[in-house]
């Protein structure tokens, strides 16, 4: 009977203050009180017994184990091919054709990996988790390799011999020719100062623009069909009237070459499979190899005919895009369940496929995604993005492009793969529309309960409205979804480029110092007045607003330059083949070819900003508890010797996330002004800039570059993540959080992020699962975009910190993706621990 939201109206309303079990138990060792025992497969798992690891059968178990245990390493093969090819051919061809030819050259030569047990074949590196470098974008130095070899987290190993080869063959050629150098040699000092102060980050300084997600076209057309289409467009170019016809011809030729490259790559796998079949004595294994050969002969050249071919088709396209140029937020099949359903249903009806076989193929592909670790980052980007994750996010459920329910049996199979394999990659999300059956929502909630941090949960109604508001057609918007974390786009038809994070709390910090970064003493903003002279809160807010506009414009100016450099020097002809309208416009994915072209700036720290402004408004200008000088002095001293002030602020200020209009109104104004500062500014591709509210792991880095803030946050502590409230400041429970959050009009953004952490014991029973489902539906009814959960108690996290070996498999939700707790640096770990732990709904 006790419903999720049966509010207790107590005549003596003390129920809200009930202590948690752990409080009662006192300060015993975290290990003793951890709700999740070490080495358990999950909160509610069967013990593994004699199995070698999770997985539906021994093949999948072996594949998963191999992938799980493989250590990320660097493969220099691609860089060597790339460098040799550029040395010989640069200048002989147009840039798009040169790019396509290098891709073809690499597909012809690269060392193939064909693992025992594999049903889905193809690997970017020579072995699982061997990651190529992209020297044309960022050329790693010898020192970079040594750092990557030895750093504690996100280590990538490279042999000394390879480092020597790299130093001799690769580094000298690229010196001064990389995208990174082109960018940093160009940017104005004002930008550089702000960037180095940590006011924003820049994704594109060492990774290509990503967020590449596919629609259903590759399941209906093969590369030969695309080539024909490309040829038709070449044939109809008007060299007389169209000033861009020659550029288009080069781009289209490049696309056709890329199609050949992916076919060559597949054929080489077919050859290898046949070769192995010849010497294979086990007839079952022989048949399996011949089947793989047949599949690789057919796709990607032709449209897939079977479930197996459809998955392999996707995998070849995935590999192609991440080999050509591994864009940020790599590659994503989009609504994978919807794409595979026609193949599944046809074959099940014909009796040529069983559910188990389909699931096995899916599991094989899951392992493949996990084998593909993100390329290593350097510099500030490495500091802000501490993860191996390359952000493939499989969208499950949701709506079809005709607006009907997209859930099918395949959706459930994907959920099973998510739960059973619980690997770092791929990430997964479920899309819950009012049309989504409760059965599916419950199945998803049961996976969430496992505590691996995924799937995250999205509201199609909200993001479809977001996309329509940005000018997409209804059908294209419906076929859209989430690419990596929470950002959404029109799958297969849009380049939605995330350009970097905006440290909005740092903008508050420089506002309080009249444009100076107090951490370094360097002037990084614009002059907005001495806050000690401000008479009203409005004056303070206006100063902050002035800084916001200044910093946003600074970032956009350089973003547009970077976009120009990518369009010019690093086109992606293979990716352009599979993204709608690139063929018909004859333009590259990075050059306005796609139907939609959006640039995003990800704003972080709404909670920290709101709470800081609320502190000053409430205590300085209204209640006059403290004057500006006292707070600013305390902030400058990191609240040293003024704990009473800090405690008063922390405990006696209206903070965001409690359904308190005082604070929430400030959040609304900040959000509104961020939208106005960013929204609609033109990019170079005929599209616009928009905002989304996402921090991934950047809130930790952004916190590090800051002193204390007026909300009582101490220096170097992480700022609030996504649109979540500041850590521990949401004291009125999850329903107040979602009410605060949904006062923001999510549809004006390109995505918001809300983290919630629950104790595992809260989700033990089936009726608890139903409650979680209702919380999700309520959030979405109110207009929420995304919500994700960590189902883990603080004691477990502490136990994992103390005994990392015992908790190797502990996945937690970071921000838009899950990561192994023990792969995170102590700052990130602390940040997960600090999130408010909900012990009731």
């Amino acid at each position: 009977m006790e419903n999720i939201n049966h509010i207790k109206v107590g005549i003596d309303p003390n129920g809200a203050n009930l202590p948690s079990i752990k409080e009662l138990l006192g300060k015993t060792d975290s290990i003793q009180t951890a709700e999740r025992n070490a080495a358990s497969e999950g909160n509610f798992y069967e013990p593994l017994g004699d199995k070698i690891g999770p997985g539906m059968n021994s093949r999948v178990q072996r594949l998963r184990k191999l992938s799980f245990e493989a250590e990320p390493s660097i493969s220099i093969e691609r860089a060597l091919h790339q460098t040799a090819f550029y040395k010989e051919h640069y200048g002989k061809h147009s840039i798009p054709v040169l790019r396509a030819l290098t891709f073809l050259d690499h597909c012809e030569k690269k060392t193939l990996y064909f693992g025992e047990d594999e049903l889905i074949v193809g690997e970017r590196g020579p072995v699982p988790k061997a990651v190529p470098t992209f020297p044309e974008l960022t050329c790693h130095s010898v020192e970079d390799f040594h750092v990557l070899n030895s750093r504690d987290q996100q280590r990538y190993t490279t042999s000394q011999e390879d480092i020597n080869t790299y130093a001799k063959e690769v580094i000298p050629y690229w010196e001064g020719r990389t995208q990174r150098e082109r960018i940093f040699n160009h940017v104005p000092d004002t930008w550089k100062r702000a960037y180095e102060a940590g006011l924003f980050t820049e994704f594109m300084e060492q990774r290509a623009p990503g967020h590449t997600v596919l629609d259903g076209k590759i399941y209906k057309k093969g590369m030969l069909d695309f080539k024909k289409e490309i040829q038709d467009h070449i044939d109809s170019l008007d060299y007389m009237m169209d000033a861009e016809a020659n550029d288009k011809a080069e781009q289209l030729k490049a696309m056709a070459i890329s199609c050949d490259a992916s076919i060559v790559f597949a054929e080489r796998h077919a050859d290898l499979a046949e070769e192995r079949a010849q010497t294979e004595s086990d007839p079952a294994k022989k048949a399996e190899l011949l089947k793989i050969a047949e599949v690789c002969r057919w796709v990607p050249a032709n449209a897939p005919r079977t479930f197996h071919e459809a998955v392999q088709m996707y995998w070849f396209v995935h590999l192609g895009t991440i080999t050509e140029l591994n864009g940020w937020d790599a590659m994503n099949p989009g609504h994978f369940d919807q794409h595979l359903t026609p193949f599944y249903e046809k074959e099940i009806a014909e009796g040529t496929l069983t559910r188990e076989e389909a699931k096995e193929i899916i599991c094989c592909m899951w392992v493949k995604v996990n084998n593909h670790t993100a390329p290593p980052k350097v510099g500030i980007t490495a500091k802000e993005s501490g993860t191996y994750n390359d952000f493939t996010n499989i969208n499950i459920g949701g709506l079809k492009s005709d607006g009907s329910n997209g859930v099918s049996e395949v959706s459930f199979i994907l959920l099973e793969a998510v739960e059973e394999l619980h690997l770092l990659q791929p990430g997964s999300s479920v899309h819950i529309s009012p049309k989504t059956p409760d059965k599916f929502l419950k199945a998803a909630c049961k996976v969430i309960r496992q505590g691996h941090g995924y799937p995250s949960v999205f509201s199609p109604e909200t993001y479809i409205t977001e996309m329509i508001a940005m000018g997409k057609s209804l059908t294209d918007a419906r076929e859209g979804g989430c690419s990596g974390c929470i950002e959404v786009g029109a799958f297969g038809k849009e380049a939605f480029v995330l350009t970097g994070y905006l440290n909005v709390p740092k903008i508050v910090e420089i506002t309080l110092n009249n444009g100076v970064d107090p951490v370094t003493g360097i002037f990084v903003g614009t002059e907005s007045g001495d806050p000690r002279t401000f008479k009203t809160y409005q004056e303070l807010y206006d100063a902050f607003h002035k800084q916001v506009k200044y910093i946003v414009d600074l970032k956009i100016t350089v973003s547009n330059y970077i976009d120009t450099m990518f369009a010019k020097y690093a086109p992606a002809p293979f990716l352009s083949v599979v993204i709608e309208d690139c063929i018909s416009t004859g333009k590259d994915y990075y050059n306005g070819g796609p139907r939609y072209n959006t640039n995003y700036i990800q704003c972080t720290g709404l909670g920290t900003v709101t709470d800081s402004l609320s502190t000053l408004k409430y205590h300085v200008f209204e209640e006059k508890t403290f004057d500006m000088d006292r707070i600013l002095t305390a902030v400058a001293n990191n609240f040293k010797d003024d704990e009473i002030l800090r405690q008063t602020i922390v405990n006696r200020t209206p903070f965001f996330g409690n359904d308190d209009d005082y604070a929430d109104d400030i959040a609304l104004q900040v959000y509104d002004d961020l939208v106005k500062a960013i929204d609609g500014k033109p990019n170079i591709k005929g599209g616009e800039f928009h905002l989304n509210m996402l921090s991934t792991t950047c809130h930790v880095y952004f916190g590090k570059v800051m002193g204390a803030t007026p909300n009582g946050r101490l220096a170097a502590k992480s700022i609030s993540d996504g649109t979540s409230p500041s850590h521990g400041c949401d004291t009125n429970g999850p329903s107040a959080v979602i009410r605060s959050l949904t006062k923001l009009d999510h549809t004006r953004s390109g995505g918001t992020l809300l983290n919630q952490r629950f104790l595992p014991s809260l989700l033990k029973r089936d009726e608890d699962i139903a409650k979680l489902g209702k919380l999700i539906r309520s959030y979405f009814t109110l207009g929420g975009h995304h919500i994700q959960f960590n189902i883990v108690d603080t004691a477990t996290l502490k136990a994992a910190q103390e005994n990392p070996e015992d908790y190797k498999d502990l996945l937690v939700r970071m921000a838009g993706y899950s990561d192994y707790f023990n792969d995170m640096n102590p700052d990130l770990q602390q940040e997960v621990i600090d999130r408010t732990e909900n012990d009731s709904f």
Binding site: M1, E2, N3, I4, N5, H6, I7, K8, V9, G10, I11, D12, P13, N14, G15, N17, L18, P19, I21, E23, L24, E643, I644, L645, Q647, T648, V650, N651, R652, D659, S735, I738, R739, R765, K771, K774, L775, R777, S778, T781, L782
Partner: protein, 254 residues
């Protein structure tokens, strides 16, 4: 209420107390209950909220404003408002006002009660509620008096009345080792519930826990741990079996 672990010994409360009821000691704040007038001025100035006033005086309209904020959550979860306490029926005038106000908004109303109340009041309240959570602690009246301070005749009579009115009910039995978990009491409870008129209630067996200990501490009241304890899992299973034998739906928790 005072939480020692939150106290930073700022001394603000001591300074602000008009009656000098508070003393700052090395072990935290000590309140002289004879001098304390419950004015709450100490809580107003405490920087860490170590000192808190519990409860808040609110009008019906103020409570309704808070409740209405939850409308969409209540709608999607088919939830509503549970009036509990203490004992809500002790404050029936306000309770009835609140029930009428919720009724006007079409909000589902539930009463969580010990059942110790004037029968007329109980039935008036029942006329304005959709559901009851009704405590049933011990069937033997003398034992009931020993443990709760009151006999149980009125409680049982009210439960019969309420059941006969057709009310939807959960009957809640806090199960305490050595107090009411013996076969005899459970048999009697099951028999009694089985013979109730009206709709079949669901019985929630609530095994005893020590969650209140922290609150006792905050209130500065001594909490005697160990007098009461949680019955074993086997015992809980046995209790469920007895209810089943009598055709009564029962579950642990809820």
């Amino acid at each position: 209420m005072y939480s020692n672990d939150k106290c930073i010994s700022s001394g603000e409360c001591v300074k602000n107390c008009p009656n000098d009821a508070l003393t700052l000691t090395p072990d935290g704040i000590v309140t002289n209950a004879d001098l304390c007038a419950m004015c709450g001025k100490c809580a107003d100035v405490c920087p860490t909220k170590a000192m808190e006033m519990t409860g808040q005086l609110m009008t019906t309209d103020e409570v309704m404003t808070q409740i209405k904020k939850e409308t969409i959550l209540m709608d999607t979860s088919e939830g509503g408002v549970t009036f509990s306490g203490g004992e809500p029926l002790l404050h029936h005038k306000f309770l009835i006002e609140m029930l009428d106000a919720c009724g006007k908004e079409g909000i589902h109303r539930c009463i969580d009660t010990t059942g110790l109340a004037n029968s007329n009041i109980l039935m008036e309240v029942a006329g304005k509620a959709e559901h009851f959570l009704y405590d049933l602690k011990l069937m033997d009246s003398a034992k009931h008096k020993e443990w709760t301070g009151v006999p149980n005749e009125k409680i049982l009579e009210n439960l019969k009345l309420l059941a006969a009115s057709g009310m939807n009910m959960n009957i809640r039995i806090p199960l305490i080792k050595g107090v009411n978990d013996d076969d005899e009491n459970i048999y009697e409870s099951a028999k009694f519930i089985a013979t109730l008129e009206g709709k079949k209630p669901l019985v929630n067996i609530l095994p005893f826990h020590n969650i209140a200990a922290k609150k006792y501490e905050k209130l500065g009241v001594h909490y005697e741990k160990g007098i009461m304890d949680e019955p074993s899992i086997e015992r809980q299973k046995r209790v469920l079996e007895i209810f089943e034998e009598h055709g009564v739906n029962a579950m642990i928790g809820g």
